[in-house]
Amino acid sequence: MSPRDAVVIGVGNTYRRDDGAGPAVVRALAATPSALPGHARLAVCDGEPTRLIDLWRGADLAIVVDAVSADPDAGMLPGNVMRWEWDERVGGLIGDEHGAEEGAQGTVAGAVTTADDDQDDDEPGLAPASHSASRPPLVEPAGTHALGPGAAIDLARALDLLPSRLVVLAVVGDDFGQGPGLSARAAAAVPVAVDRIAAEMR
């Protein structure tokens, strides 16, 4: 069933190359109205917790699109699109297909989707490997005045302000240097993320 109040929030800094993947996905969604139901909201955010919470407050479904650093050992390769969903039972973000350690308090397993395990590493797509960490390795700002999306989830949970469903989609970045524009691999992952969000909305 399509959620009644859904919001897609692109998080990132468009002046730090692939950290702008989240906002790029939101721009692509805005240019593809057919991808989303009419009531879905689109937003871009720097990830500052209180602003992020304000954006997803009361939503049936919130999809946060962010960038993550590559971690080849965990199967997270540039251009992959990773997916996690908040699971209140375990109090963590859980990758929905692989590696979730059911019932493991605080464990976040990463992530993965329907990718073909034989896919070419150079092609964008949905990452096939599982990843284990305390939370997705979202690119968090260094300044503690400006806490990142992970802190937003913790703060929202403490205040009972998490959306009914919280999905985190992350584009694995290749280049987080200075300047606008995505790397070729991250750019190619944008339509993959758009398709994934459209599927989440159905």
Partner: protein, 435 residues
């Protein structure tokens, strides 16, 4: 054989401050040898890369110095450029600038009070832990902050790095209906801010009084926010903003990528809430002044731990100011959203009161408006020496505390000033050495 007792306290990465910095305090035989606020955030070279850019670009470029106080950067840049070009923004455009700035004060102060500073008084490691133990208070803070964000979004186009500010005014003016729609939420925010003031007034404050020279802008009969042509000190000295670079000397210290500033002939000084309040409490609105009295503040406040109360009072004031401006706003449809600011060769100076203190900009322009020199003096750089003196005094007075307790007290002493290291390095990690 001599026995030297050395003790070192260190925090390698300070929490609940903006940017990257550390603290190091060294005691030798009970004397503080060194108290350093190490700012290791890489230098950001804004002054260098502004050279060669168009004068119209300075507000948007310098807004990028800080995600917490971009309006301060935009406002000081606009004032400096307009000064260089012989233009003065007045009337409703000036009022809208103050309204935008009120949004930034409300947002920044609400964040610092509820998520960054209050945990220090309530035994919580961070704002998230505080949200678990003081949910209603944190929710109240977020509600106030939301109003500040909304004001910035309406007037600035977005809450971070607003895009609607330009030299001479704005790209687009809000309609009267758009501003009037804010009245109910501002009235609610005022009630919430008054509750917050009463809440923080009840915290336990160490008895401390600092003797730093206090420095704030003088904005006439108003509590200084968005400008002022004069700089005033608590010693009664007054000078013009355009003389700021002659009266304030910056110098490099080895442990910081931020320059230290001192008043010529005086030395260290402090800007920010304590300075503003001590110099200008008589200019608060009646309701903010009453809130200050009820919170136990006298006409002056020199206890940095009580800065949380001053910020709460300033939040009340900013909301009242926002209400006043919103209710008085009556735009003339024939008026353009900005006055012309034609370039000319010359020097311009501008300053405003960022939430954490005085922010100065100075520029030299060529005849075609190209920037040939830029000077930005952010509040945290100005406050650095005063913060180090606070550390030194606290450590000397609390040597009976163990290292963990003393380190925690030192971190609090730093957060009292809501330092913005990212601005200053245009800085935190604590090292305490005891010998």
């Amino acid at each position: 054989m001599s026995h030297v007792h050395e003790r070192t306290l260190r925090v390698r990465s300070l929490a609940r401050v903006e940017g990257e910095g550390a603290m190091r305090v060294k005691l030798v035989d009970g004397r503080v040898r060194e108290a350093r606020l190490d700012i290791y955030e890489p230098p950001r070279f804004f002054e260098a890369f502004l050279r060669g850019r168009a004068y119209t670009e300075a507000p948007d470029i310098t807004a990028r110095v800080c995600g917490i106080c971009p309006v301060a950067y935009q406002t000081s840049a606009c004032r400096a450029m307009e000064d260089a070009c012989g233009v003065r923004v007045q009337g409703q455009l000036a009022e809208l600038r103050r309204l935008l700035y009120c949004g930034e004060w409300i947002e920044s102060h609400a964040l610092h009070i509820h998520l960054l500073h209050a945990p220090d008084f309530l035994g919580c490691p961070d704002g998230i832990a505080l949200a678990r133990t003081h949910r209603a208070e944190v929710e109240r803070g977020l509600a106030v902050k939301r109003i500040g964000n909304a004001l910035m979004e309406l007037l600035g186009g977005r809450a971070i790095h607003p895009v609607n500010v330009r030299l001479g005014g704005f790209h687009r003016l809000p309609t009267r209906a758009e501003l009037r729609a804010f009245t109910p939420s501002l009235r609610q925010a005022l009630d919430l801010a008054l509750e917050t003031t009463a809440w923080v007034a009840g915290f336990a404050f160490p008895e401390v009084s600092v003797d730093h020279r206090l420095v704030a802008l003088d904005q006439g009969d108003r509590y200084p926010i968005d400008g002022g042509d004069l700089v005033r000190t608590d010693a009664g000295d007054v000078f013009e903003v355009r003389d700021f670079e002659d009266r304030v000397r910056e110098h490099q210290v080895p442990h910081s990528t931020a320059l230290h500033a001192e008043l010529v002939g005086v030395g260290r000084y402090l800007t920010g809430p304590l300075a503003r309040y001590t110099l200008h409490s008589s200019r608060l609105s009646p309701q903010a002044a009453a809130a200050a009295r009820e919170a136990g503040l006298g006409p002056e406040c020199r206890n940095p731990f009580r800065s949380i109360v001053v910020r709460a009072v300033e939040t009340v004031y900013a909301i009242e100011e926002a209400l006043r401006i919103v209710e008085d706003y009556d735009p003339d449809p024939s008026r353009r959203p900005a006055v012309d600011v034609p370039p000319r060769a010359g020097r311009g100076s501008g300053a405003s009161e960022a939430p954490r203190g005085l922010l100065y900009h100075g520029y030299d322009l060529a005849a075609d408006g190209v920037i040939t020199r830029a000077r930005i003096v952010p509040p945290t750089a100005q406050n650095q020496a005063a913060i180090e003196t606070d550390l030194s005094t606290l450590v000397a007075d609390h040597q009976d505390l163990d290292d963990a307790a003393l380190t925690a007290l030192c971190e609090r002493a730093i957060r009292n000033h809501d330092p913005c290291i990212s601005c200053a390095a245009h800085f935190l990690d604590l090292h305490v050495e005891r010998t």
